[in-house]
């Protein structure tokens, strides 16, 4: 049994190199034990003793992106499963994207789950402004993703917030963008959470854009699950908004219509209205 320990940073690249090498040596899935180690762990094994004929997986366009996404999943068995799928595709026993194969279906489903996690990170990271002596403004955020997505999700923020410095820390890795350079490293500490006056404006907006006459709590929760709430500055308003919705809505219905103001009547007369 060969142990392959992949680094926590650059995991996808390291997996690809290792998988390509092992298939080249003809090592079957059952002879490998995959795991993820520290940020800089590197597998440096030579040709094994139990190899067979070399295999090479030919994949359709888009498959590599799917594999790279699936590799970010938190499931410890993902590396072994993906190697198994690639091994069988290379051997001609499995068609890529054939969902009738349980392992293939699982890889595709995990890639999708990672895609959703990345999308939610792009949506729910909330920056707070930090004091800085530099020329560029500085923002920081704390986010807790389900999967190992920091490296894959970070370039989006670099493209979007090109004229400011920022840090996004997660329980495992931290992405940092300083002077237009993006780096990823193991998290040292959680950024301090301080007051940011704009958060109050945002909370005002959140309260005001909500329509109490159309309460749909389930629809909200399926798109913004509660696990994200603790890092969203607007989330502690939700309970109160839900509680008051029925009363507010009822009050609107019961309120008697008012007479138009004198000004409105004058305007209506000027415009030739009634």
């Amino acid at each position: 049994m060969e142990r392959i320990t992949l680094p926590a940073i650059g995991t996808a690249r390291a997996f690809r190199d290792a998988a390509r090498a092992q298939m080249g040596y003809g090592v079957p899935p059952e002879a490998l034990l995959w795991s993820m180690g520290a940020a800089d762990d590197l597998f440096a094994g030579g040709p094994p003793s139990n190899g067979g004929p070399a295999r090479q997986a030919r994949l359709p366009k888009g498959a590599l992106g799917t594999i790279n996404a699936a590799l970010c999943h938190s499931d410890p068995a993902r590396f072994a499963r993906i190697y198994d799928v690639l091994w069988r595709v290379a051997g001609g026993d499995l068609r890529w994207a054939d969902r009738s194969d349980p392992a293939m279906q699982r890889v595709l489903a995990q890639a999708k789950a990672v895609g959703r996690d990345i999308h939610k990170m792009h949506a729910f990271v909330r920056f707070q402004e930090r004091p800085t002596d530099g020329a560029r403004r500085l923002f920081s955020s704390w986010f807790e993703p389900d999967h190992f997505i920091v490296e894959r999700a970070a370039p989006f923020f670099a493209k979007r917030f090109g004229d400011m410095d920022w840090v996004i820390a997660t329980p495992s890795l931290t992405a940092q963008f300083v002077a237009e350079e993006l780096t990823v490293f193991e998290t040292v500490s959680r950024p301090p959470s301080g007051a940011d006056a704009t958060e109050d404006l945002w909370r005002t907006y959140y309260k005001s854009i909500f329509n109490p006459a159309r309460l749909k709590v389930k629809a909200m929760q399926s798109e913004m699950p509660q696990k994200y709430w603790k890092n969203l500055p607007e989330a502690d308003l939700i309970a109160g908004l839900i509680r008051q919705a029925e009363t507010r809505s009822q009050q609107m219905v019961e309120a008697a219509p008012t007479e138009p103001s004198a000004q409105a009547k004058a305007l209506a007369r000027r415009r030739g209205g009634s």
């Binding site: 068609r95 054939d98 969902r99 009738s100 279906q105 792009h122 949506a123 729910f124 909330r126 920056f127 707070q128 402004e129 403004r137 923002f139 955020s141 923020f157 670099a158 493209k159 979007r160 917030f161 090109g162 004229d163 400011m164 237009e180 940011d196 704009t198 404006l201 945002w202 005002t204 907006y205 959140y206 005001s208 854009i209 909500f210 329509n211 006459a213 159309r214 309460l215 749909k216 709590v217 389930k218 629809a219 909200m220 798109e223 913004m224 969203l232 939700i238 908004l241 609107m252 219905v253 309120a255 219509p257 008012t258 138009p260 103001s261 409105a264 305007l267 209506a268 415009r271 209205g273």
Partner: protein, 408 residues
């Protein structure tokens, strides 16, 4: 009168904007700020940064420039005859809110609308000034949706399309009769004329000059509109026919349906109702069928109103049982798209898998099909519905139990 704080204005002018359902921020021009000289990106799939407890996504800072308005549309919270509190943002305030919200990753951009003040041209010009400042002074590269006023001068529309990703003109109600009754200052001919103007400018902007150069962009994310549902007497068939016309002849990217919802200080001419949320939901489903599933408005709403108990595709299948069960291994794409429980993605996967072998019942779930809805209407290896397709109680299996109807 003491000046209102920014917080007060934001509360008033967001409250006034919430009856507009549009929140899209996808598509359009690909931009980013990786040159370090600006802020923002756009062009991918849109992102919903938050959800309100009404289930609506919050993607854009959706505000009115002002809720003062000289029009008197009965359904509108901002109509001149309403006694609600009024406010007006300065251009700098809108710019500041947009930029500061954007930097904190709260939003994808700005959706700016306004009550009509002084004249349509004055109002449009003020809105354009705000958007131009965002683009030129702040180098803002995020998404901008600008509500367009139908009667504004052509050169103002030209400029609006230059700075905004999306333009929208609300049709408000599906018929002229409804508009005449509830929105006396608006008429369908002007509204559709303005939509045609936007469409023509977009078409022209995408044709290269005779020297092969690209022309200046014009509203690269297209145009959308909104219809209020339940305020006038129009039925679903009328609404869906209007949508079909808008999609086909005016190349609208989206038609939004907004169930008429209680507003503070309602008009005497339009009593408040509980918002018809289920009807609104069915209209969105029907709209999807028109755009992606090859259905015609008359096929799904020929009776006038959509079925509230079951979705329009299932209702159609229940009414056309003679065409089912469909053989999943042989049916055409068009027919597969008509199977309840099969979406465009699962149909694509079925067609791809058929090239490699026969499909079995247990494969369908992995392809994303909803078998609870589909199974009465399909034949596939390992499954036949036998008498289920024609069973008298088939509808009852899908329709909700009576007590759930109270939710509607």
């Amino acid at each position: 009168m003491a000046g209102k704080s920014l917080t007060d204005k934001l509360a008033i002018l967001a409250d006034a904007a919430k009856y507009d359902a549009s929140c899209a921020s996808s598509g359009g021009e690909r931009r980013n700020s990786s040159d370090g000289k600006g802020l923002g990106s756009s062009g991918g799939s849109g992102i919903c940064h938050a959800y309100a407890p009404d289930g609506r996504c919050i993607s854009l800072l959706k505000i009115l420039m002002t809720n003062f308005c000289i029009y008197d549309c009965a359904y509108c919270v901002n109509r001149v005859s309403s006694q609600i509190e009024r406010a007006r943002f300065t251009p700098e305030e809108v710019v500041r809110l947009t930029i500061e919200f954007y930097r904190r990753n709260y939003i994808e951009g700005l959706f700016l609308s306004s009550g009509i003040i002084k004249s349509p041209d004055d109002t449009m010009a003020d809105m354009i000034r705000i958007v131009r400042t965002l683009r030129e002074q702040e180098n803002f590269r995020g998404y901008i949706h600008l509500k367009t006023i139908p009667d504004a001068a052509p050169e103002l529309i030209d400029e609006a399309g230059k700075w905004a990703d999306r333009l929208s003109i609300n049709i408000e109600l599906p018929t002229q009769k409804g508009l005449s009754k509830l929105a006396p200052e608006k008429n369908l001919k002007d509204i559709k004329g303005a939509m045609a103007g936007v469409k023509d400018r977009r078409d022209a902007s995408r044709v290269a000059t005779h020297r092969g150069k690209r022309r200046a962009r014009f509203a690269p994310a297209g145009q959308s509109t909104q219809m209020i549902v339940g305020a006038d007497g129009a039925n679903d068939r009328t609404i869906l026919h209007q949508s079909t016309d808008l999609y086909q002849n005016y190349k609208l990217n989206r038609v939004y349906y907004s169930g008429f919802s209680p507003i503070p200080d309602a008009s005497r001419n339009l009593p408040l109702i509980k918002p018809p949320l289920m009807r609104e939901h069915r209209l969105y489903q029907a709209d999807w069928l028109l755009r992606f599933y090859g259905f015609q408005a008359d096929e799904i709403a020929g009776q006038g109103m959509l079925d509230l108990e079951v979705d329009p595709k299932l209702a159609w299948a229940l009414a056309h049982r003679g065409l089912f069960p469909v053989d999943v291994n042989r049916a055409s794409r068009e027919m597969l798209l008509r199977v309840p429980g099969f979406g465009t993605v699962s149909v694509k996967r079925i067609l791809a898998a058929r090239r490699h072998g026969r499909i079995r019942y247990e494969h369908l779930r992995a392809m994303g099909a909803n078998l609870k809805n589909a199974r009465a209407f399909i034949v596939v290896d390992g499954w036949t519905p036998r008498g289920m397709t024609d069973a008298a109680d088939l509808r009852a299996r899908f329709a909700p139990r009576p007590e759930q109807l109270q939710l509607i």
